[in-house]
């Protein structure tokens, strides 16, 4: 046998899809280069065989040129022993000199539950600090606090099936079409089957998700809570309250209703506050009133807000008031963005949690956990949440930070502050599988970590489903599992017995043991069934939804079916809400409101998706979406370079003129880092404003100004080698199959000689030049050939234009000598008589705009017909919304 199929879980979003990977038997001589594309696991209840483009491209990300392979201290490669000694000595010293709170972990929703568990245990039980926070703070901390305020526990009531069973789906602050494509596809399929199912999207932007919306409320940014305050009142007005549920299972209804009535007294006041029409609001209210099976589906648009928790509770209030919770097709459903944000919550891997869904404030919890862990140095109060943590670092209070599997130099708001904080910190330890990230650049000690496909453990998805991520490939170089490194440091600090796990399943079993320890139904999180799990059972674990208490191995599909909540009196709580807008509003100096989010085919800071060339085809560069009115006024043309400035920093992005944003609003994606572009880190612009309860930063809101960058020329540089110097006004490296592809902006005064000089200084090899100059079109194009091999191509144009570079990239370091015509074609960008596909729309089948337009011109008039003709949209389906847009536009034109 030369290959085995292994089931594992996707490392990207919170949907947690099952993935089948065919792993070649390395002993049989098969190279890792030849790993076939992964496929969706037909048996996994999250995706039933489907995968999105990102998931489908996982095989392309298994090998990276940029893996961190050995431990380093101050840039010098060292042994694991030496690196661990360095770290342990420093931790011991600062704890001794300054107390345990001088140390902090900053973890990630990408590490596995077992990694999380030992980190949390080490910090909170052994070092004695609750300074354990995580990038999940940036993602769903508000949702956690919202649930806890309402239910007394961080319990997601719903499951994915509810999305298919509901009759009304209200999607708030979620562009699921791009961020959770497989859930979105399930919703699309359900709506197709039951056209009466209504979908409402509440989002300031018109996103791809609006494609299936029966109603889109393009609300004023941050005004979400008012919509739900109105629905609460409306439920009273039209008499759809579940009075029995309210009286038997809840507290605080009257106060919540009063506050809603006070803060948003009338239809018109809400419509004004939200900047939407009264008719639209009433339409939503009428559907809400008559639809028992309603799911409110919310994500970062709700959570990333200074009033994120209140927004969550405004939503939950409505569900409690109508008893639409704990029932099939009904409930307030927070969807997480990361593969294991939920796992982190379960172990308590956040600064305001203790462990296993217990808080420091939970009566008896500290003592219970201390006994279970046999912990010598229990932390006794909440630690610092992300923003406070980095501020304490800058203030010199935190002296050692251990950052694991995350990139705060890109994801935390106000990057300049994060830089100051890390510079101030005496020891910055970074565990990562990548050698070069914006954060590894700040590290004193680098620990090479195993990555997805090497790690072994569990993750929990947005519907509480625990799935295995399985180790498929050997660890490269000296990379180690995060849990192994944490335990190694713990033992070095003197905690031998508490961290002497031989295998990862022992950690999982202990985690399960803590979850059931003196629980007896008091705490929602109980996976006691697994407390004695064997390695074999662990390896064979099938995806299951917690709680999985002893005696209920099948897990729990839906929570609160018994309407018993985890508050002391088992009643859910209404929370009085006053909708508030973001503190920072437009001023003459900062007139634009910036919103941020994801693009379809990238994930987080591109440390993995950036390895797959295919995933750049949909969106190759960062951009700022600007309304045509604003663009016209500011003389910004499509794809031209724009400078965004806020009081905190600046960014240079290409404009995308679009009516998807309202005038006065702009949108930019979050993914691009200094590894990929010179000035596209959007967090630069964002203030460190956070929700006072959840500590979640308002990363989707900043006030900025825009200006067109003048006196520039646009172009592209494609090179066989990475450029040593990137002396451009703007550059963005677009991951490519072959060589290095940079989209660039030059100063307009560049000429052939200056470009040649720059490239000659930037590329090792020197050779002959091909040159195209056209003063009529102000174009300069150069190519460099060394020993018959193409090593670089540079184009300079006066205006931004899209150049398809696939063919050029395929010619880099060509094996066969180039014909004269090929050499000329290099300065054209494509060989003569070759079809120009245009910008790629369908990444799966590489179908581009020009092919689609051609098919439509030739009479194709539906998305289905496009699919049967070109195959586009027939695999992952994530391009279907865009495909749809081709059809009406064309119909209008031909009409």
């Amino acid at each position: 046998m030369t290959a085995t199929i292994t089931k594992t879980t996707c490392p990207y979003c919170g949907v947690g899809c099952g993935v089948n990977v065919t792993v070649p038997n390395i002993d049989s001589g098969l190279s890792l280069d030849n790993i076939p594309p992964v496929s969706g696991d037909l048996d996994h209840p999250a995706n039933f065989g489907r995968l999105c483009v990102k998931g489908s491209s996982l095989a392309q990300t298994l090998q990276s040129d940029d893996r961190l392979l050995v431990p380093t201290v101050k840039g010098e490669a060292v042994s694991w022993e030496s690196a661990v000694d360095t770290v342990s000595e420093k931790i011991a010293q600062v704890v001794k000199d300054h107390g345990p709170d001088a140390f902090a972990f900053y973890l990630s929703g990408q590490i596995l539950t077992e990694d999380y568990y030992v980190a949390n245990k080490l910090a909170k039980g052994f070092i004695g600090t609750a300074n354990v926070d995580t990038n999940s703070r940036l993602c769903m901390a508000s949702a956690v606090v919202g649930y806890k305020r309402a239910f007394g526990s961080d319990t997601v009531p719903c499951n994915y099936e509810d999305l298919e069973l509901c009759d009304l789906l209200i999607m708030v602050g979620s562009n699921a079409a791009w961020t959770h494509p497989i859930l979105y596809q399930r919703i699309v399929a359900a709506k197709k089957q039951r056209p009466n199912m209504k979908v409402v999207v509440i989002d300031p932007r018109e996103t791809a998700t609006c494609d299936i919306a029966d109603l889109h409320l393009a609300i004023r940014p941050g005004s979400d809570a008012a919509v739900f305050s109105f629905l609460l009142q409306h439920s009273v007005d039209v008499g759809v309250l579940d009075s029995a549920f309210i009286s038997r299972h809840t507290n605080g209804f009257k106060e919540a209703l009063n506050q809603a009535t006070e803060s948003t007294p009338t239809l018109s006041s809400v419509a004004n506050f939200c900047d939407i029409s009264e008719q639209d609001l009433l339409l939503l209210a009428s559907w809400w009133a008559k639809t028992e099976k309603t799911v409110s589906f919310y994500s970062q648009g709700v959570n990333q807000s200074a009033s994120g928790v209140d927004k969550c509770n405004a939503i939950i209030n409505c569900h409690l008031a109508t008893g639409r919770i704990g029932k099939e097709g009904a409930g307030p459903f927070s969807i997480t963005g990361q593969p294991n944000a939920m796992g982190g919550r379960e172990v308590g891997g956040l600064a305001n949690q203790l462990a296993a869904h217990m808080d420091f404030a939970t009566p008896g919890a500290q003592e219970l956990v201390q006994r279970f862990w046999q912990a010598p140095n229990m932390a006794t109060e909440n630690g610092l949440k992300a923003v406070d943590l980095f501020q304490a670092m800058e203030e010199g209070k935190i002296k050692v930070v251990w950052i694991m599997s995350t990139n705060p130099m890109v994801s935390m708001p106000d990057t300049a502050q994060v830089r100051r904080a890390l510079e101030k910190c005496e020891l910055v330890i970074v565990s990562d599988c990548k050698a070069h990230t914006d954060t590894t650049a700040m590290a004193d000690v680098l620990f090479p970590a195993t990555g997805w496909s090497e790690k072994d453990g569990t993750v929990t998805n947005s519907e509480r489903r625990i799935s295995r991520q399985r180790g498929l490939l050997p660890a490269p170089g000296e990379a180690k599992h995060d849990w192994w490194v944490i335990c190694k440091v713990a033992k070095c600090l003197g905690y031998q017995s508490a961290f002497s796990y031989r295998n990862v399943h022992e950690i999982f079993a202990e985690h399960a043991g803590l979850s059931e320890f003196e629980n007896s139904g008091k705490r929602d999180f109980d996976i006691g069934h697994f407390s004695r799990i064997t390695k074999e059972e662990y390896d064979a674990l099938i995806p299951v939804q917690w709680p999985v208490p002893k005696g209920r191995p099948e897990g729990t599909k839906r929570m609160f079916e018994d309407a018993r909540f985890f508050t002391p009196d088992n009643r859910a709580r209404f929370i009085p809400i006053t909708p508030t807008l973001p503190i920072h509003q437009a001023t003459p100096e900062w007139p634009f409101t910036l919103n941020t989010g994801r693009v379809r085919d990238q994930w987080h800071t591109m440390t993995r998706t950036g390895d797959a060339a295919l995933l750049t085809k949909h969106t190759d560069q960062p951009y700022v979406e600007v309304h045509p009115k604003d663009a016209k006024r500011l003389e910004i043309s499509d794809k031209s370079l724009v400078r965004l400035t806020s009081p905190y920093g600046e960014a240079l992005l290409k404009a995308k003129i679009s009516r998807a944003v309202s005038p006065g609003n702009v949108f930019t994606p979050i993914h691009w880092t200094l590894q990929f572009a010179n000035a596209a880190v959007v967090s630069n612009l964002i203030p460190q404003v956070a929700d006072p309860l959840s500590g979640q930063p308002e990363s989707k809101h900043a006030q900025v100004k825009l200006e067109a960058v003048k006196n520039i020329a646009y172009g592209v540089v494609i090179s066989a080698e990475p450029l040593q110097t990137l002396d451009f006004t703007y550059w963005c490296r677009v991951p490519s199959e072959q060589g290095y592809h940079y989209e660039v902006v030059w100063s307009e005064c560049e000429n052939v000689a200056s470009i040649q000089a720059m490239l000659e200084g930037s590329i090792q090899s020197q050779g002959e030049w091909l040159e195209y100059t056209n003063p009529k079109t102000h174009q300069i194009r150069l190519a460099q050939i060394v020993n018959q091999r193409l090593v670089s191509v540079s184009y300079l144009h006066p205006a931004p234009e899209s150049i398809s570079c696939d063919w050029l990239e395929s010619k880099l370091m060509n094996k066969e000598a180039l014909s004269d015509l090929d050499r000329m074609a290099i300065l054209v960008g494509l060989p003569a008589n070759v079809e120009d596909k245009g910008a790629i729309v369908c990444s799966c089948f590489q179908i581009g705009t020009k092919q689609i337009e051609k098919a439509i011109k030739e009479g194709v008039c539906s998305v289905e017909a496009l699919g049967s003709r070109l195959k586009c949209g027939t695999n992952c389906g994530s391009c279907l919304p865009e495909l749809k847009h081709f059809i009406p536009i064309k119909t209008e034109l031909s009409a």
Binding site: E771, Y772, N774, M824
Partner: protein
């Protein structure tokens, strides 16, 4: 033999390309009643002069030389007189006297006497081993040279370079003197000429650019033995080939009292100052221009045939592309290759592949082009110029040729 009193006697003086082709084409005019006489001073008649370079270079052989089928012409009644030349023309009596003493009467006289190599007035150049490169005979002289002779070619224009290549291919040591600083300075710019120069240098030709010999040293027997260079260097030579331009052959016309300037003045009907006398080819001048390339001459023949029939036809000057007939060297040049005010130049340069393109555009029109290395698009560019096609929408890809631009045209 057709000899009818109502037929028109057409006499063509000069049996070079223009004269021979005219005679041949007139023969194809079915309805006309012509009695054609073709008189040539060379013994070979009706050959393709353009091919002399290839013949010299041994790229072709004598059988490839004919331009027209002279045997067929004779059979069909053309009176071909070769190796004889006209010495007196009398337009009053419409009679020609030949060197051999024969007289020939005509109704319509066509002068196609062509041109001679221009012999530069360099001291010592009057010698039997100083020759032009115009005729089959010249090729034969060069072909009969002893092996490894030192040849000095004066002139780095089309003809000079073709001669130089032919001679170097025959194993001779060739030095080209060229007054301008770059070769083919009327057809190329300095950059493309640089490519050509290095190509020709690799073929073994030596060049002295920006320079002419100051004098020639002759032996006692009156043969040139040395060329004296401007830096005083004395270079041994066995043969000098003058290829520094041509002089229209107009002695006969002048003697006949026809109006001449540089050449015989003709109007748009190819008519000279005498109504029954016409001129065409290299010996004629129209609108201050003389003609050295074949395309306008073919156009003149068409006009003249029509005019002789009494039809309406007018000659007009069109841009004409030039190509160098050296195997392995591809160049194409047409129109205005040095920009004047208001022109823009689009360049493609691939020195490594010896590929160079320069287009001169003005106000949406292509007005000049140089192609070196790959000339496949030459005819397309020429067409764009002839048709005065608006290329404004093609400017971005124009220099890359028809394959990239034609979809936009369609």
């Amino acid at each position: 033999m057709i000899d009818s009193s109502d037929s028109t006697r057409i006499v063509i003086v000069g049996a070079g390309m223009a004269g021979s082709k005219l005679a041949y084409d007139l023969l194809q005019e079915n309805n006309a009643n012509y009695l054609i006489t073709l008189i040539g001073e060379e013994t070979q008649v009706g050959y393709n002069r353009i091919m002399l370079s290839s013949l010299l270079a041994n790229d072709i052989s004598a059988v490839d030389m004919p331009l027209v089928n002279t045997n067929q012409m004779k059979e069909e009644g053309v009176n071909i007189i070769s190796g004889d030349c006209v010495v007196i023309t009398d337009p009053i009596t419409k009679t020609l006297c030949l060197a051999s003493g024969r007289t020939v009467k005509y109704d319509k006289l066509i002068i196609a006497t062509g041109s001679r190599a221009r012999m530069l007035p360099i001291e010592g150049a009057q010698a039997s081993n100083v020759m032009g490169f115009r005729t089959w005979h010249d090729v034969n002289v060069m072909a009969d040279l002893d092996a490894k002779q030192s040849v000095c070619v004066i002139g780095g224009g089309l003809l000079g370079l073709e001669a130089a290549v032919g001679l170097v291919k025959r194993g001779h040591l060739v030095t080209v003197f060229h007054r301008s600083n770059w070769l083919l300075n009327r057809q190329l710019d300095s950059e493309s000429a640089e490519l050509l120069l290095s190509r020709l240098q690799t073929m073994g030709i030596n060049f002295r650019l920006g320079e002419s010999p100051t004098s020639f040293v002759q032996s006692e027997g009156g043969l040139v033995t040395h060329a004296i260079c401007s830096d005083g260097e004395s270079m041994a030579v066995n043969l000098v080939v003058m290829a520094a331009g041509i002089s229209p052959e107009i002695a006969l016309a002048k003697a006949a009292g026809l109006k001449t300037n540089q050449a015989i003045l003709v109007d748009e009907k190819m008519q000279t100052s005498h109504p029954d006398v016409f001129a065409l080819g290299e010996c004629c001048e129209f609108e201050n221009q003389t003609f050295g390339l074949v395309a306008p001459i073919w156009a003149q023949i068409k006009v003249l045939i029509n005019v002789l029939k009494g039809g309406e036809a007018y000659f007009a000057i069109e841009p004409v592309p030039t190509k160098l007939k050296v195997s392995g060297v591809n160049l194409f040049s047409v129109g205005r290759v040095e920009p004047i005010e208001g022109d823009s130049c689009i360049f493609f340069k691939d020195v490594g592949a010896n590929h160079y393109r320069k287009l001169v555009v003005n106000d949406g029109l292509l007005v000049g082009a140089i192609l070196y290395g790959n000339v496949a698009d030459g005819s397309w560019y020429f067409q764009l110029m002839q048709n005065k096609t608006d290329v404004s929408d093609m400017l971005e890809l124009l220099v890359f040729g028809e394959a990239y631009c034609s979809p936009q045209v369609a």
